[in-house]
Amino acid sequence: MAINLAYIAACLLFILGIKKLNKPDTARQGNFLSSLGALVGVVAIFFENEVVQSWNNAHSWLHNGILWVVVAMLIGAIIGAIWSKVVKMTGMPELVALYNGFGGLATAFVAISQFMYLYIVWAGRSEGGGPIVMFSIGITVFIGAIAFTGSMLAWGKLAEKVTGSAVVFPGQKAINLILVLGALAAIVVLVLPNVDPATKTTAVIALTAISLILGFTLVLPIGGGDMPVVISLINSLTGLAVAMAGFVVSNTMLIVSGALVGASGMILTLIMCKAMNRSIGNLLFSGFGAAATQSTKGPGAEPKAVSAEDAYMVLEAAQSVVFVPGYGMAVAQAQHVVKELAEKLEANGAEVNFAIHPVAGRMPGHMNVLLAEADIPYEQLKTMDEINPLLPTQDVAIIIGANDVVNPAAETDTSSPIYGMPIIKAHEVKTVFVLKRGKGRGFSGIENELFSMPNTLMIYGDAKATISSLSKEFSGD
């Protein structure tokens, strides 16, 4: 009874937490309430019958299950805490992907353990699981394993440990379809009554293997720029797996919290997709970025490159400057020097704004986090819709490692894979400086016409070094 009340309290705290995370001024409170809910839930589980019995049955400390459970929790908490403290702000999406994958694998393990209990430990002594429990075990393993390998690959792509661009090969969809059908067949074997435990065990092993491969092949054709949406989608799937695990071990708190995460995560995924003007189906199956090289438009004029000193002359005379940050700023860790340059420009009489595209960087809100870290005042951060009408009147735009979000092809070139995506119309600004590491294409692999436009000047090199040298010019040495 008291345990169920604690579960209700935990669920209420989760619900309130998610609700409050919707608004910037209550978000921190929301996160706190949600974590409090998790704490209440974890404490309550130690009073469940099975757990208390395990405690009572222990005849020595080595046989004390609870002790091992607490040790495992402490190890997990310490690792989680350390990783969260040491991660750089730029590494945030990778870390969330990693955590997500762990959650998925843990959930799959819960279902596999319960299966082992029903069919191996209790083989012959029990009737096994009912169809609903067996179905839940199957789905939990399926989704949990997909979430694990999918997240790991997303992590690899974001951390640039594997190629970030989309990998497409012939027969990809057919292979995925065969894998899905195989997984479904294994789940059917699990659910069917009158199947002997050995066959069911084989089915669980096959299901685990197929699902692990499927997570990999499903994420493979998705480009690095789409990873935040993919992580959000997999996060929603993990939630669903957690809810299914709730059916496996008959725990209402798992069902409610899993369903909450699954549904809210799905809505969040759709919102993110909308911000990128893409549908879920298009994102998952089109191989974004891979098709880009087939764009009919060849590169136009050769981009013009200038030095930082030349750029200073223009900046010195500018009355209004807009920074357009992208992932390149994050990679170069340039946010602090950008803040310095912005202050010098302001001291020089220019109006300075920052144009933040909703999907700039590797996660939505990525740029807001970085610029906030550098203490750039909130009022200077303009959303795409706020800044676009002002751009034709601005003197200078400085694009720091952003690419697709300022690519005019999104408006003009119907053959471009990003056609229709809302962009920051930096090309309408009088002079555009593009800070770029090298001449290669961006992360998504799409040619950017902006770079060869007559009003665009490229400054190649490390963004942080370039900004610092611009800053130094202002110091008037």
């Binding site: 299950g65 997990g76 009912g130 909703p358 986090v369």
Partner: protein
Amino acid sequence: MDSVLLLFIFVIAAFLGKELISKVPSQLHTPLMSATNAISGITVVGAVVTAAIFAPGTLGMILSLIAIVLATINMVGGYMVTSRMLEMFRKKGDKD
């Protein structure tokens, strides 16, 4: 518990989850994603239950304990990383 009742709870909670998120400003997309991701870590509760039903030292126990480590990393790490992100938004808010 009656599985139809459990299904009922699941459906109601899913609808609630759908309604909870409405117009989220894009700056909160990632914190919200990472906070709901942390909630998934509550799967640790399921792992504690499965750990408890096995005798220590068995494969099932070991799997469950690994699940506990992974889920706790997900949960504790998820909340802490979200809080770090949101902490930065606060600094900005203080200036207003």
